[in-house]
Amino acid sequence: MSAPADLNIDHVATLARLALTPEEKAKFAQQIGDVLHHIEQLKKVDVSGVEPTAHAAPVFNVWADDVSKPGLSVEAALKNAPAQRDHMVVVPKVVE
């Protein structure tokens, strides 16, 4: 397991699409470092031959019938959009 010193907060914040202030970066790096230090003890567990558990529900490969059902109206679906026009969400220009 990697040491907490490996935490490159700029890289991770970029992956998370999260703009952090210099103060947040310093604070989070220290706090998350403490938590990662605590998590280091997981490497003491012998997990050889152990299958991972993704969730504890005894259901797998759940299929839904391929049948269309009524859903939200366009108005209802767009009701919470920060900006909209002509039944579409308005976003900043993506291509020049």
Partner: protein
């Protein structure tokens, strides 16, 4: 027992409604008046809509007058944690990110409670996106514990626990990812049930950690919790992890099932860090069961020391993925200061999320990132298997386990500034989520300074009937349910 309607149980109120001694409108008015009287001190709600609640109550009274009442919940005001969708009502997760969001549809539990005739009442405060153990991480400010207003109610469903303890609802719903129903229930002196993973649909619940989240009731009594559970449990095709199982009549079951039971005491749950007054109260609870002829057996859950770390890897990883949807495009907060579309994502998320949410997104993103996935996330999933196997092994010998719910009683608002110190509040509850088991916290006494204490009972998957019966047996022999905070 107080005669105030807002402090009565669902069972008592349903009898009064059926006997026409009380109307749902009068009951709902009493709850609204109580809420207005105490809310300035408790701050359990993010918002409430009294016109809507009274309209629902009026419909309930009309049904009852026509002989078409739908059962014990018809006309009973039930509060909702502000993370469960109700059509036309705000859904904020106590986050600036969703400050203006209004639900376009009902969660499945909402539909089920509406069908049962319940009065859907209010939006209850919580830690932002259910991340926390004190309800201090709310964009709307903290909720106070009704037993001591300078202390936290626990979290993340602190508003749900505090509202019930203060008489601002007859029962409430919360969600539990690592203890977020059971821990606040213990700190506020009420019953809190986290059902087996898969028993209650998560459709319409804002996702935090999808493999751990489960909706459950807060109630004054175990019987009331059984009534609410019976209404919300059941298979839902819109939640692919919901389980197809027959839902028993929990209320009938809890009275019919009698002990003695075999109860396990996991020795790892009584070690360092446990408040001595809580240890003593739980020991007395164990002694009660022994006196009833139950066989008490010490058991071991050897991977307990790894639960917290396993949880914080898995929960933050899933959260970082689930919260990627909040990008300022289709709904939620959108930054007005962005230069282009990518900058819009970065700034909308920076402005919309609070500190604890950002911390967990960063941690979760890190443990899932290239080069670290096997070391953290995959390893944690494997340790999770060992933790679950520990629990399942004990159930070969015992029917249920008894532990403290929380290592400490309610602490002062602002007392725990360090995230890691706060994470330790959940050490006795998170194993249950990792293993997908049902767990219930029942009041089992008070500290010398008058703060409530809860005992946790942990049951076998999908055997809520038995778990509720065991909890009910204790509750019936004790008077904790008849104690109310001086507000």
């Amino acid at each position: 027992m107080t005669s105030e309607p807002f402090y009565q149980t669902i069972a008592q109120l349903a009898a009064a409604l059926d006997a026409k001694r009380l109307s749902s409108v009068d009951l709902t008015k009493a709850v609204i008046a109580r809420t207005k009287a105490v809310e300035g001190r408790v701050h359990a709600f993010n918002s409430f809509d009294e016109t809507d609640a009274l309209a629902q109550a009026s419909s309930s009274d009309a049904r009852r007058a026509a002989g078409q009442a739908r059962g014990a919940l018809d006309g009973i005001p039930i509060g909702f944690k502000d993370v469960i969708a109700v059509t036309g009502q705000p859904l904020t997760a106590s986050s600036k990110m969703l400050a203006n969001f209004v639900s376009p549809y009902d969660a499945t539990v909402t539909t089920k409670l509406k069908n049962a005739g319940a009065v859907v009442w209010g939006r209850l405060n919580m830690d932002e996106f259910a991340m926390g153990s004190s309800t201090e991480n709310s964009a709307n400010g903290p909720t106070s514990n009704p037993w001591d207003l300078t202390r936290v109610p626990g979290g993340s469903s602190g508003g749900s626990a505090a509202a019930l303890a203060a008489g601002e609802a007859i029962a409430t719903l919360g969600s539990d990812t690592g203890g977020s129903i059971r821990q606040p229930a213990a700190l506020c002196g009420v019953v809190g049930l986290k059902p087996t993973y898969g028993l209650v649909s998560r459709f319409g619940l804002i996702a935090f950690a999808s493999s751990l989240d489960q909706i459950g009731p807060f109630a004054r009594t175990v019987e009331d919790a059984a009534i609410v559970l019976g209404a919300i449990a059941g298979y839902d095709e819109r939640d692919s992890t919901s389980f197809q199982t027959e839902i028993p009549d929990y209320r009938v079951d809890l009275k019919q099932r009698q002990g003695p039971w075999k109860l396990g005491i996991p020795k790892e749950y009584f070690g360092e860090g446990l408040d001595p007054e809580i240890a003593a109260a739980v020991e007395r609870t164990i002694a009660f069961y022994k006196g009833q002829g139950c066989e008490i057996k010490e058991v071991s859950l050897p991977h307990t020391q790894y639960c917290l770390d396993t949880y914080y890897v898995i929960a933050t990883a899933e959260a970082s993925s689930n919260l990627a949807r909040y990008d300022g495009i289709r709904y939620g907060h959108r930054s007005q200061n962005a230069s282009d579309i990518v900058d819009l994502y970065f700034k909308s998320r920076a402005e919309g999320f609070g500190a604890e949410v950002k911390r967990r997104i960063i941690l979760g993103t890190y443990v899932l990132s290239s080069g670290y996935y096997d070391a953290y996330y995959l390893r944690a999933q494997k340790v999770r298997t060992l933790i679950r196997n520990d629990f399942l092994a004990t159930f070969r010998d015992v029917d249920a386990l008894i532990t403290p719910t929380s290592p400490m009683p309610a602490f002062k608002i602002g007392e725990k500034a360090d995230p890691l110190a706060l994470y330790l509040c959940d050490i006795y509850t998170i194993g249950v989520n990792l293993a997908g088991l049902p767990g219930i916290s029942v009041p089992c006494g008070f500290t010398k300074s008058g703060l409530p204490i809860g005992a946790q009972l942990i049951g076998q998957p999908f055997r809520e009937s038995e778990l509720l019966a065991i909890a009910h047996a204790y509750e019936q022999a004790h008077d904790w349910k008849n104690k109310f905070p001086a507000l």
